[in-house]
């Protein structure tokens, strides 16, 4: 799951037709993902996995 989240950033950046360059609220989709959404999701996934493994 974490690796899939990670690969999303280079795929958005390097895919043909540059889907990562699409602007949403003035910021590119790539930077929304790589700078905010991806890190928050990855941390949430890791926290859930660590807490569940401890139960």
């Amino acid at each position: 799951m974490l690796l899939v989240l990670l690969l999303g950033a280079p795929l958005l950046a390097l895919a043909p037709a540059s889907p990562g360059a699409v602007r949403i609220g003035g910021v590119s989709l790539l930077w929304w993902y790589a700078g905010l959404v991806g890190p928050v999701l990855a941390s949430a996934v890791a926290i859930v996995a660590l807490v569940r493994a401890g139960e």
Binding site: L3, P10, G25, A34, G35, V45
Partner: protein, 482 residues
């Protein structure tokens, strides 16, 4: 190990500062590196590793080399910090080296370090919150404004057009428009004039205060430590041509895929080797939380610096975007205390990193203080070569990945050790290739920049094949969560 202590191994000052600098400079790989730098330690925390002592001598040696090179990279940050304070780089290396040598040996440092790390990560966010609140600019608004700029020019408030600034490392500046450059420190300046065929190389010996007029297309070669002054309102040499180029680097294409994979494999492999698995449970929340805060802080510093002060990455100083930004954004009165706060936070981060690295060295080679002293001393000596810090960081993570991952991920002790040997050998050959054959084919470039892209999978494949061929050697130790 607690999650916070594991995070301290990963959160090296060089990593955060390099991320911020690359984002501020609009580097093509800046978009995926922060996510890679966050996900890599999370993967390692969740993995069930073996104890380092079980990995064999090659993997332990690779880990020790990795710790030493990471220390060197952190000491380069200290050198840049000293340069920013108008001191000589060596003063920063010696002072930081002395602290890194002594502090990890102080009783209780290991217990206090994770708490300090959590505080430092939060403190690194404070200047950004202050800049955002004072200028009423959210990071995404700053990014959007930065992407809309027509040109990236020197503002009147830039130190590069005032008293001049020092180049932290050697550089080659390509001028896209004419500009008069004043030598604040004297020396010989080499200019490649490309408006004639073949290009002409001229050398100019300038005394302090003398100026050099450069034409569009000229390339100026600079030694580390050179101090220059530029003209206000002119384009920043070496910076992206416009805001849109900063935001969407034109170099981002499918051709970058090997480099992107190389960077991500290096980060994940390095994290698997360096960051230990952690104790599970609700207390483990702190590790990912601090990693997230630190990563978002690095992204925030890079975005604000790239948007507000595009000249800060010039000169290559790792800490310039972090130390100069508060004053540029808020003025000297409000910004100076935030600059001091940031410098203190970076120094404390260096100490928490040193404590964590000593822990890894103890796990790999034993607790003798002389080993730690040798690592710090060797790290200091490496900085004398004036290395490029990102290269140091990727080499440190890469050698750990190539030398340890085969033993961590393969079954069988001997097979794992053989895989480590192959990984280290391939890594060393690829890393040394520019020295052995300076004229490299372009397809080899990603492999030279990130040797573990090939070295780690080859080592792992060799270990698995050997384990399959000789199953009698497959005496796998049970995974141990440290």
């Amino acid at each position: 190990m607690t999650a916070l202590a594991a995070a301290a191994v990963w959160l090296q000052p060089v990593l955060l500062a390099a991320l911020a600098l690359r984002i501020a400079a609009g580097a093509p790989d800046a978009a995926w590196l922060p996510l890679g730098a966050l996900v890599a330690p999370l993967v390692a925390m969740l993995a069930a590793n073996r104890r380092v002592a079980d990995l064999g001598p090659i993997a332990r040696a690779a880990l020790a080399v990795s710790v030493t090179v990471l220390l060197a990279a952190d000491l380069v940050v200290a050198a840049d910090l000293a340069t920013s304070l108008d001191a000589t780089p060596w003063l920063g290396v010696v002072a930081a080296g002395a602290l890194a040598l002594v502090v990890p040996l102080i009783p209780g440092a290991r217990q206090a370090s994770p708490v300090l790390l959590a505080i430092v990560a939060t403190v690194l966010l404070l200047p950004l919150v202050s800049i955002g609140a004072t200028t009423r600019t959210a990071p995404w608004t700053a990014w959007s404004r930065g992407a809309l700029r027509g040109t990236l020019t020197f503002p009147e408030t830039s130190a590069w057009v005032g008293k001049g600034e020092r180049f932290a490392r050697a550089d080659r500046l390509l001028f896209t428009e004419g500009q008069r450059v004043t030598a604040v420190s004297g020396g010989v300046f080499r200019v490649v004039e490309r408006d004639v065929t073949p290009p002409t190389v001229r050398e100019w010996r300038l005394a302090p205060g003398e100026a050099l007029t450069l034409r569009p297309g000229d390339e100026l070669a600079l030694e580390a430590g050179t101090r220059l002054r530029f003209e206000p309102g002119r384009r920043v040499p070496g910076a992206p041509a416009s805001g849109i180029v900063w935001a969407d680097a034109p170099g981002r294409s499918a051709a970058m895929l090997p480099s992107a994979l190389g960077a991500l494999v290096t980060l994940i492999g390095g994290a698997l080797a360096l960051v230990p698995a952690v104790r599970r449970g609700s207390a483990a929340i702190t590790g990912p939380a601090v990693l997230l805060i630190a990563t978002l802080a690095a992204v925030g510093w890079g975005v604000f610096a790239g948007s507000i002060a595009p000249d800060l990455p010039l000169g290559g100083s790792l800490v310039a975007p972090m130390l100069r930004l508060p004053i540029r954004a808020l003025g000297a009165r409000t910004g100076a205390p935030l600059t001091v706060l940031t410098a203190v936070a970076l120094t404390v981060l260096l100490l928490t990193a040193a404590v964590a690295l000593r822990g890894r060295l103890v796990a790999a080679c034993g607790p003798a203080p002389v080993l730690w002293a040798a690592a710090v001393g060797a790290g200091g000596l490496i900085t004398a070569l004036r290395p490029e810090p990102w290269r140091l960081l990727t080499l440190a993570l890469g050698v750990a990945a190539a030398g340890c991952a085969p033993a961590l991920l393969a079954s069988g002790r001997i097979a794992g050790q053989a895989g480590c040997a192959i990984g280290v050998l391939v890594f060393a050959i690829l890393a040394a290739l520019p020295l052995l054959a300076p004229a490299l084919a372009s397809w080899l470039e990603p492999l030279v920049r990130y040797p573990s892209l090939v070295a780690m999978p080859l080592g792992l494949m060799a270990a698995r094949m050997l384990a399959r061929i000789s199953p009698e050697e497959d005496e796998e130790a049970p995974p141990v969560v440290r």
